[in-house]
Point group: C3
Chain length 321, copies 3
């Protein structure tokens, strides 16, 4: 595997899930695979789960790991080409990426979208330049439009906790006070659409008017504006806020109550509730759910390790060839 950026980088979803779960059962059985290999984790934004779970996965594979908070410990990056660098940016991504590629066998990059420049964000300008110039395999630690380690984790979690062959999975928009990226819902949606194609799930999206996702990510999903309708007989609910894609990065007032509560849970097939975290309690998701028996959010976060580990393992195996 040369890159882990989207669901397109994985052919057989069931297979990768089974491999991840076998790593969960035997985390340290591949300590030799990563020996004398270095992973560099580059953060342009904050991170808790991704930072720790990816480090842990790499160490369990025997890799050496280096973490850099580029924004705080390194130099302010220039990403545009053709500019005379006489301003506040100190280093161009062409050099920064290439240099990090000299030091690492595999790199991970986290870079949030601007939410201001839709074209730059949706062409994944920064991530793609990093991949192009660093010259080594790159794992996305969340880019402008996708968060694939999260989505793989989510699929692993659904497969681990499902009680039937083809569970009903609902992505449910939820309120927030800030304008958040579409990366997590985009990514979850493209993974679930492919999982649906491969017969693993049945996938529905519910959101208020004005919060339509880019349809490149939702092909095949049932999309509804009525949350109660979506939740009926659901087996898994994935709660998540996002800002508007069409009116890019904006937050619109919505009608109706989109906070996920036990009342809404009653409509479901005793659904398990998921969220990528961090979650705003009692704004996106009620405390009663988070502290109750239906919440999977902590176990889901725990599964981040196995998603990272299976991706790194496949990349290491490619390097060996």
């Amino acid at each position: 595997m040369e890159k882990f950026f989207s669901v397109a980088d994985i052919d057989n979803l069931d297979l990768v899930v089974q491999e991840a779960l076998s790593l969960k059962a035997n985390p340290y059985s591949w300590r030799e695979l990563g020996k004398n290999k270095t992973l560099g984790l580059v953060f342009l934004n904050p991170s808790l789960r991704t930072r720790l779970s990816t480090q842990k996965a790499a160490m369990s594979l025997g890799m050496d790991v280096m973490v850099i908070n580029m924004d705080k410990e390194g130099w302010a990056l220039e990403t545009k080409d053709g500019v005379i660098m006489n301003g506040t940016t100190v280093e161009h991504i062409r050099e920064a990426a290439a240099v990090m590629g000299e030091y690492c066998d595999i790199l991970g990059l986290r870079s949030f979208p601007s939410l201001k420049d839709k074209v730059a964000d949706y062409t994944e300008e920064l991530f793609n330049k990093f991949v192009k110039f660093c010259g080594v395999p790159v794992v996305s630690l969340e880019s402008a439009t996708r968060h694939p380690l999260q989505s793989l984790t989510d699929l692993i979690t659904i497969m681990e906790y499902k009680k039937m062959a083809r569970p009903k999975v609902v992505l449910a928009w939820a309120p927030h006070v800030k304008a958040l990226p579409q990366a997590v819902p985009n990514s979850f949606s493209e993974w679930m659409c492919k999982a649906q194609e491969q017969g693993l799930v049945d996938f529905t999206i519910a959101h208020p008017t004005g919060y339509e996702l880019n349809d490149e990510f939702t092909a095949g999903a049932r999309i509804v504006g009525d949350l109660d309708d979506a939740l009926t007989a659901a087996d898994f609910i994935y709660v998540k806020n996002w800002s508007s894609y069409h009116d890019y990065g904006q937050v619109h007032p919505v009608e109706g109550d989109w906070l996920m509560t036990n009342n809404k849970l009653a409509l479901t097939n005793d659904a398990k509730v998921m969220h990528c975290l961090p979650v705003r309690r009692d704004l996106e998701l009620s405390s009663e759910i988070l502290d109750g028996p239906n919440s999977l959010v902590v176990k889901e976060a725990g599964n981040r390790v196995w998603a990272a580990q299976v991706v790194l393992k496949r990349m290491l195996e490619s390097l060996k060839k």
Copy 2:
């Protein structure tokens, strides 16, 4: 050992000191014990000694170590229950702690007191929630009211450098320009009081009026307001500033000269001088002492490694069971 938070977590003080000193003599003889075990060090505040000595101790035990500056690299934490999270805090400690517990076999947490909310600080609200929700053994890297790795270090240092069976140890308040927590003096005091009970030391506290510690930490200590009286025949002087406990977090003007100098040292039994560091030179403790033969402060800081290593070793042994 499930938790290392206070002196109550250690029964026999002499035994733990001997075990620490045997690790000092053979630091790398337990490299296999921590294999495939991960320590997560979580900092909500700055740290030099604790950060480096605990990392080193864990690596010497063969552990994988991850460090996170939660305030800078992760998300702003909410610690109160029952609040709608529509403000500036991004993640609740319930989720953050639980998630870190998924990634680590043992966690360490540093969280200073507010010095504003006495009840929250002295009930150790944040630390206790972290312990409750993370679900794995936790080492305090200094909490609101205690700094047990420092106090264990101090006991190790006293036992290592004592010239008689039951040395006289004096905790001496010293001036400062900032309002500092009571964590170090509270903790030192509760460790020395227990050490006195177990026949290891003779313990006296000297402080100006208005700087009485919470008597929960000082039971059994001789407490005096006259520094010269306290210093007479002292074998060890532990210099430290703290703010008022009763007039919580306040700094009062004091009478008399509480800066520790060679003149005061002349009253003692050629006492060794200790401080947890960082120390304000010539405000708390004179340069002549710090640079002279009676100072133990650097060797004391060096011993932080063995305090951390014996605690982690005992926790790892508990995990193995």
Copy 3:
């Protein structure tokens, strides 16, 4: 090797280059040498290349590595002696250095100059105090007046890519918008002057009037004010901005065009172009050169690993004695 601070710490330059290149050929053949040894990397300023390449070198030698951003994660340092510490600095370098020496077998320190206090900068006050008080071997990760790991890297790169016995090397001043230290050009110059003495290169410096370096670093170099003259028949061009030494830390307007471009490259013997990075594109060095076949900047940055590794290897060998 007790210290790696300047070219004076290496006797035979050809020998150290050959040793570095043999590590490049077999990076992991010394994994046992650093076992149970700890490297501490202390940063008072930002760093990308130095941070990652030195970590990687140490891990490849089997060392445990700890990194601390002293300015952000630790305490504000006092460096002057004889001051009553009642201001904003929290810890004196005497204690901080000594304590870190307790935890580490080898330390690295990065500390940029003030560019305001020429005497303090050029006597290397901070670096020398750190060395004196920490009590263990210290590697400079760039100090006020020198960047020896960079210069060793540069020499390795020249020796690796040279096409003749004694290539012509030119240090060429370039424009910038900020006042930069003289550390890189000072250091490059003293290494090239020694390399010239040892018959390895032929060394020329070109800079505008007002940008004369301290002649302690340039003895033996040919120094010219005409860039075209310097570039004639050059085999390697080392492009770098620096602020004025004599009018300390100032930036003067210059006459003529000092931006390095393909037009200027045409004057050379198809010279390879080097830069320590980060580089301001199209201000110091043109994009056409950086993206073209003559640029060595990325390979040069990659060689930072082998410079660090040979230095750490020699220090570890000294420890063993």
